[in-house]
Symmetry: C2
Subunit: 377 residues, 2 copies
């Protein structure tokens, strides 16, 4: 098992594009000899590899250490769609194989179905059970602090379901549950655009709206697992009723569901956001109004996050072809017009497309995060 | 100088009401012998003291270790009022002596004035210059990440003022600057109601509204020092113009300044919030409406913080006699009616009275925090 220093080496390497022994020694305030000994064990264990960057022409280039892609494998299951999507990823976050199966809402049955799909999935890449480190599961709802129990999920109709234990019994793997937006934030932190950010917020924009924060380099789950519940911030007091029981929540104004409802209310002929954007380009005032309302609400909420938490980075994760054109323009304008003038334009806003498989990969990254950040003693 | 383990001992003791060697050994995963050696040095250095709790009747009570009140002294200066307030505190956060002086807005002159007041202040308690560890300064505005430069302060009319260096030259002390709400949060974290909270938010309600967060046990300053700028979250789009250049900010609805403006607009005879509350009790509808508007806006903002960050604790710091009666009732109701039904009532809300001296003590606590949490190598 790795010691605390070796865990720190993994954390430093995952946040970089490779690091020399000299830089590791500086960052960890250890001697280069001590680092060499620690690294040697990790090379022998197959966790790390060395790479020699092209010479910059100034003396001998130093050897960079990187995590080996094949040093560990993780599984991820998404319970967000109509079918379960199960993927296999490597230590670099690449999806190696994927499969689908029916979403059985009975937890023991679901655990059996997922477990039964694993041998074929990993065999596709000639990976054996003992090379698997863990399984992550992502769902819509609250998860307990040990990431073992789904405390509540309206989408799945679950309350206090000990899914991690059921899956562990069936698969023999360590299992971690995570809320969808939090899983996606973890994925971007360890494999994506937020690698180097210690404090950032990810917003997921889809049928519902979610968000998740990293603070001080750690996922912030909140005192009741509810951190990031941006969807239910009141934007329009007394507005449309929300499924949460309140009115005028961000979700009722800016989610894809809300936009589709507005399209129906206005009897517009538009089957998708892309079509709605096309109508807006043609000057259709109803389409423009709908996109304005949604964009303004979402931008205002993001501005609130910026003012409250002043993150290094905001990542907006959105559906394919559903965050371009007017919607995106209005969101960006609303952010700028609602943050303090002295910090306008200082917070980078990144956007990324997500699809069904993204959630399963995010789930797998939760297992990877647990391995890297919270390696067991 | 203390080593890393001894720093950790200080951090554990400051968050407790005393701890035995056995408990320290458990928490730090060190042997009891190792802890005893570390503690022995700290006892000899006068940092710690032992106390014997009254026997609970079950065997020999273990000796508790505590930080000695006289192990270190700190100074704090508040630049928030019309005069500078300078205080001396001990390691338990008690204010031992205080003095006042004119607030000279010329930074070099200000540094000289503050430095000149120190000898008399500490002599009152027979404390010598070499027993002083540091000086904290609190101000309204942004401070750079090294807590050395006041980047911007509208109240002081400053931009990029290197006050820490000026004060260091004049006093010979380590100097840390901090924004007012952040300083108060630090004070509550190390000496007050938030001792045991790793994630909490403090709201300061006065002429302006401020807030500050602790995440993962650390003060969260934000990527641009702007974290906590709750005052400029838009609550009423298109509402009253705010001094920040936007409209409808929380400050324009709920600050004491905003309440006083509303009182003038309605030509009410009320010189203070206490008098306004008294009018409301008598059924004056204008007074009731003003308190409702302010309380609703503040409660909505706090609800947004709860939903976005899900802190363990919210602390509302307010002026004497300015957060009771209807205002407080409406704030509490607005919090409950705007957070997700599943987490209603789960976030403890503490309130505390602040006066002019509180800010100077908070400034001193910033110096103490730096000593305890970020002890120099």
């Amino acid at each position: 098992m790795l010691n605390a220093h070796q865990q720190q080496i993994l954390r430093l390497l995952i946040a970089s594009h490779g690091m020399s022994r000299t830089v590791l020694a500086e960052k960890m305030k250890l001697s280069k000899a001590a680092i060499s000994t620690l690294v040697k064990e990790m090379l022998q264990a197959g966790l790390l590899e060395e790479s020699i960057p092209e010479s910059s022409g100034q003396g001998r280039p130093s050897v960079l250490l990187k995590m080996r892609a094949d040093s560990a494998y993780f599984l991820g299951a998404s319970l967000l769609g109509e079918r379960v999507i199960l993927v296999l990823i490597d230590m670099h976050g690449r999806t190696l194989a994927a499969t689908q199966m029916p979403l059985n809402l009975d937890p023991p049955q679901l655990a059996k179905t997922i477990a039964a799909a694993i041998p074929d999935l990993i065999a596709q890449k000639s990976i054996t059970q003992d090379q698997l480190i863990g399984l992550g599961v992502t769902l819509s709802g609250f998860v307990d602090e040990n990431q073992a129990i789904c405390v509540q999920s309206a989408l799945l109709g679950w309350k206090n379901v000990p899914l991690a234990e059921l899956l562990k019994q069936q698969t023999g793997l360590e299992v971690s549950l995570e809320n969808d937006a939090k899983a996606l934030a973890v994925s971007e932190k360890i494999f994506g655009v937020a690698k180097k950010a210690r404090n950032f917020t990810l917003i997921s924009h889809g049928d519902g709206i979610g968000s998740a924060h990293f603070f001080q380099g750690q996922l912030h789950r909140g005192a009741h697992g509810a951190a990031g519940e941006i969807a239910h911030c009141t934007i329009e007091p007394g507005g449309r009723p929300c499924r949460c029981g309140k009115r005028g929540c961000l979700d009722t104004l800016a989610s894809l569901t809300a936009i589709r409802e507005s399209v129906r209310d206005k009897a517009l002929e538009s089957e998708s956001i892309a079509e709605l954007e096309a109508l807006a380009v043609k000057g259709n005032s109803a389409a423009i109004a709908i996109l304005h309302q949604a964009g303004h609400a979402l931008g205002l909420s993001i501005a609130n996050i910026i003012q409250m938490n002043d993150p290094e980075l905001i990542v907006i994760a959105h559906q394919p072809d559903a965050f371009d054109g007017l919607l995106k323009t209005v969101v960006m304008q609303a952010i700028d017009s609602h943050v303090l003038p002295s910090i306008i334009g200082k917070t980078p806003i990144a956007s990324m497309v997500i699809n069904e498989e993204s959630w399963a990969r995010a789930a797998a990254s939760v297992a990877a995060y647990r391995f890297i950040i919270h390696l067991p003693d």
